[in-house]
Amino acid sequence: MFVAQSSPFLKPALSVSKMMLVVTLALIPGIITSTWVFGFGVLVNIVLAIIFALGFEALMLYLRKRPIKVYLNDKSALLTAVLLGLALPPLAPWWLTLVGIFFAIVIAKHLYGGLGYNPFNPAMAAYAILLISFPAEMTTLWPSPSMLAGHESVNFLQTLNFQLFNQLPPSVTLDAISYATPLDVVRTSVINGLASISEIEETGKTFGMLGGLGTEWVNLAFLAGGLFLLKKGVIQWHIPLSLLATLGFFSLLFGSFELDSNPSPLFQLFSGATMLGAFFIATDPVTAATTPKGRIIYGAGIGLLIYIIRTWGGYPDAIAFSVLIMNMCVPMLDYYTQPRVYGHNDRDQQP
């Protein structure tokens, strides 16, 4: 029996598995920097997240009667786990990771149909749920960065002990090792009129050279990873560029009116999870817009929402909410930004 196999016969350039792997690898500089700045909690989070994610993924694939090996090998669960692990506060207790991963893999991904069918970015959906459900754990468990003067730190085993069993060494208090993130400080201080930007600057605990103290290094590392992805052609330039440009533009615009109550554009770009969001989260192929114009609007929308929520919203960082809100707009964006097909007039578009 002869069965026609359709052209092309050339080997595809890239596989899903390789794509996810390259993205994960590009996160490594960020992971290392993060660990250097915030301690071993980052690594513990990531490892726990990966274990839970692969477990839930396998379970769901089994329940949905899908080939487990093939789908585990696509490494999408791995990437989701690493992203969520990086987004969680480094001193997060193990159950927080478990709940987050459960929500990401089981609810946000598989209940929507699995790989390729989820409308919302699983890692960000989980992050948002955790932030709403456990606001205290999600905001107070940030350890002070290693470059902070007079900083106290805990070693690997102590971190593990805290995250798994909620036990700290007797001489150490949580307050002593944790700090309020720069974004948090700026938001609470400026909104409540407690301090101006220059006053915060004087404390020396919040601002670094570019952005937030500590987080600027992490952001730089993610930026490097992102540029690597761009160079490799794994992601396209549209989303990161429009996101960063919009965020920078609006912080410049508003910052130029009231210098003392608005942090500089550089601070916005190099604090919190900006670079992680711009290059690794907003570019998630499944949930982002697909047309070139759509991608630019999508990225710009996220950038704008980040600025709005950071400045006037109720949460210090805004990547998760911004991405989720723009995820909702994707079908509409894709529909209205279809490129003009060769040989067609502009008008006979939009089926």
Binding site: M1, A4, Q5, S6
Partner: protein, 200 residues
């Protein structure tokens, strides 16, 4: 209280009037449902649905007297289309035997006695010939309804599948999806066979 009731009545009357007007002004002229159903039927006029032709079956469906799954020549595609049109559930085809592609009637010329019975039976006038003369099926007009087979006194009509040629060959739907392990297996065996057949 009274004013309230009056106001509501007035509003109701106003909107009722508005809706009534809208129904007249914006009336959508749609072809009668019988026409739409008839358009979806394959027009073989074979009567396998137990009605006298496609049109009567369409009328019966429109009147709610017949289910949508009585048309074997149309196959599942037609059932699906009818279900979509009438917004009802898809029913499995009544017929057990699944048609293996389209067929046409062919008259074996040696045997034909020129009785004209098949000509009378053909619902689409696809058989030409006269009394005592040999009959022939016009292949392009034949719907494959088989209605001419039974009346033939000498059994000289055969239904033969339409020959597959390069011009009517079609690309098959791709089957090898990772979710369909069986299909994936079939694909690998096909690959093997293919490899063997092309190897010298």
């Amino acid at each position: 209280m009274l004013w309230g009731i009056l106001a509501l009545i007035a509003l109701a009357a106003f909107f009722g009037l508005l809706l009534g007007l809208a129904a007249i002004v914006f009336k959508v002229e749609s072809s009668p449902v019988v026409e739409q159903i008839d358009a979806l039927l394959p027009q073989t006029q074979c009567g396998q649905c137990s009605f006298a032709g496609c049109r009567p079956y369409a009328e019966a469906i429109a009147a709610g007297e017949a289910p949508i799954n009585l048309c074997p020549p149309g196959g599942e595609k037609t059932v699906q289309a009818l279900a979509d049109l009438l917004d009802v559930d898809v029913l499995p085809l009544e017929e057990d035997e699944v048609l293996e592609g389209p067929v046409v009637a062919v008259i074996i010329e040696d045997t034909c006695i020129g009785c004209t019975l098949c000509i009378q039976a053909c619902p689409v006038d696809a058989i030409v010939g006269a009394a005592k003369q040999m009959h022939t099926v016009i292949e392009s007009e034949c719907t494959g309804c088989e209605l001419c087979v039974a009346p033939c006194p000498v059994d000289c009509i055969e239904m033969i599948p339409v020959k597959k040629t390069i011009s009517n060959w079609r690309w098959p739907e791709p089957q090898y999806d990772v979710n369909n392990e069986q299909a994936a297996n079939i694909f690998t065996t096909i690959e093997k066979v293919l490899a063997e057949s092309t190897h010298p």
